[in-house]
């Protein structure tokens, strides 16, 4: 009895902290999303706006496409680099993965600045592309420009996950399957993919959730020109067209979209797991 009490005592600081800075603000967001901006009365108008007004619907659609594209690029790039990393000597791998953990803490504005210098209208790469290779300049301030910029976060993030996934892949499992007469495609479908799937899906969950809510680099590069759900929230919560209830409703929509995506990925992962639910 005494031991249990001292452990719960240690949870007090984090409980107070989470209550004050997570649950309380989140509750306020949810409650305010059901109120009118001017009168403060109960209303569903903010949610109605979110699903009927073209600017919000468009931003939701953009967010889904953008996050999907970023996740795809991150997944392919990260899986490729992760596979390479797993085949390297431990020393080379250690060096590579150290570099690939750098972007994680890098300010979104620093990344925006770096890509302006590299790929902006007069960026170094664009001058080289244009003058020496005669190719058209790369447009950093377009949707694919944003995807390329955000890949600087996503590919390394996915690489870190996939490198450890590939390292943990037990070669003897594959050999056992081969020895038992499995064809190459059977080995992939029944052995390799189920073993890789949990790590892979955990990796793309992190990337996808991050990209659904991302806005810092996009704001620095294109301002409000590219309408993302997160940018709509930002503009209502902190800029001139101040409308906290609308921002709150959009934030709730965003949370629901993120939770829905994560739940879907989790469901897929459970279906792929060997001996999992079918």
């Amino acid at each position: 009895m005494r031991r249990i009490s001292h452990e719960w005592f240690f949870l007090i600081p984090i409980t107070v902290f989470l209550g004050l800075f997570v649950f309380y603000p989140l509750t306020r967001v949810v409650l305010r999303s059901f109120t009118d901006n001017l009168t403060g009365h109960f209303t569903l108008q903010n949610y109605l706006n979110a699903f009927t007004q073209t600017r919000y619907l468009g931003s939701l659609k953009n967010t889904l496409w953008f996050a999907g594209a970023c996740t795809l690029v991150g997944a392919v790039g990260g899986t490729f680099v992760g596979l390479l990393a797993s085949r390297m000597s431990p020393k080379a791998r250690g060096m590579l993965l150290s570099f690939y953990s750098l972007p994680m803490t890098l300010s979104s504005l620093v990344v925006a600045f770096a890509f302006i210098v590299l790929l902006g209208r007069n960026g170094v790469f664009n001058i080289i592309l244009n003058r020496y290779l005669g190719l058209p300049k790369f447009d950093l301030y377009s949707w694919h420009g944003l995807v390329v910029t955000y890949s600087f976060y996503n590919i390394p993030l996915m690489t870190l996950t996939m490198a450890s996934v590939f390292l943990n892949l037990d070669r003897s499992l594959i050999e056992a399957a081969r020895n038992l007469g499995a064809k190459a495609w059977q080995v992939w479908i029944y052995v390799i993919i189920p073993v890789l799937a949990p790590g892979f899906i955990a990796g793309i969950s992190i990337v996808l959730a991050g990209m659904l809510a991302a806005f810092g680099t996009a704001l620095a590069l294109t301002g409000m020109a590219k309408s993302l759900l997160s940018l709509q929230i930002y503009s209502h919560a902190s800029e001139s067209n101040y409308n906290i209830p609308q921002a709150s409703a959009l934030a709730v929509v965003l949370i629901v979209v993120i939770v829905g995506s994560l739940a879907t990925l989790n469901w897929i992962e459970r279906r792929l797991r060997p001996g999992g639910e079918r």
Partner: protein, 274 residues
């Protein structure tokens, strides 16, 4: 033999290319910040003028001091809440502990900066929590964004040292709870606390999203100044970027050093398997 050298050469150049993908975007702002002119492919001249400007003008050096103050405070708060929590949750067996560990992993995903900002903007504007625009609110916001990283690192440290056995051994020798913490547990998990602190510090120094939503009129952090200067003063932007990049790199060098000391045996074991 020949084939081997070709393969090795390809591997070597691939490694260089993959590292360049990260290094180039970090190097370019740094080169930019030390050059007098960069209009074409090659930068010209060497200068520290843009950095001197930051240390010269109150607007900028106050920003740097503000950023450092916020980052150190956020780290302190996260240490204070996460070390006891990680200790307790590591001990909680059964579904409760598992649930909490999973919850802390998913938390930052479903509560991203834009939602933290939207919550903070409206939750702290009336007594007794009238903190709108105060620097303290920025500290709390950064601590909120950073605590999952601190928690993960400290929890991992508690898991690797087999805290229960250590504690029981110390208790059997007559050490009370405070003594067990002071002489046994803290010295053993300090690498995890330091790694978490460096991570939270680096994240806080570069944080722009939430900070810009809750910023008051009386203070600016480095990323807020960077946002302004991206529009009209690209030279200052390069120097601020340089400082922030250096912060991230130093933080990671520190973390690599720490994990190198702790995990040297682990890494060797992983290598031996090949």
């Amino acid at each position: 033999m020949r084939r081997d050298t070709v393969v090795a050469l390809i591997q070597r150049s691939l490694l260089v290319l993959l590292i360049l993908y990260i290094v180039l975007p970090l190097l370019v702002p740094l080169i930019f910040s030390f050059s007098t002119l960069w209009m074409d492919i090659v930068p010209e001249g060497f200068t520290v003028r843009w950095y001197l400007k930051i240390f010269d003008r109150p607007k900028y050096y106050r920003g740097l001091i503000t950023s450092l103050l916020v980052a150190f405070s956020a780290v302190a708060i996260d240490v204070f809440i996460c070390v006891p929590a990680a200790y307790a949750i590591n001990r909680l067996r059964g579904p409760g502990g598992g649930f909490l560990r999973a919850a802390f992993k998913i938390f930052p995903l479903i509560f991203p900066p834009i939602v933290v900002g939207t919550g903070f903007v409206q939750a702290f504007n009336r007594p007794p929590l009238a903190w709108s625009g105060s620097l303290m609110l920025a500290v709390f916001a950064h601590a909120t964004l950073g605590f999952p990283f601190m928690f993960r690192n400290v929890l991992a440290a508690f898991q690797t040292i087999d805290e229960r056995t250590l504690s029981e051994a110390a208790a059997s020798l007559g050490a009370n709870l405070w003594q067990r913490f002071r002489y046994i547990l803290i010295p053993n998990v300090i690498p995890g606390i330091l790694s978490g602190s460096l991570l939270v510090f680096a994240i806080s120094m570069g944080e722009f999203e939430v900070t810009s939503m809750i910023a008051g009129f009386g203070w600016r952090t480095m990323p807020l100044l960077l946002y302004r200067s991206l529009i009209d003063d690209i030279r200052t932007a390069s120097a601020i970027s340089g400082i922030l990049i250096a912060t991230s790199i130093l933080a990671f060098l520190g973390m690599t050093l720490i994990s190198g000391r702790v995990g040297a045996g682990k890494l060797r074991a992983a290598g031996a398997r090949e």
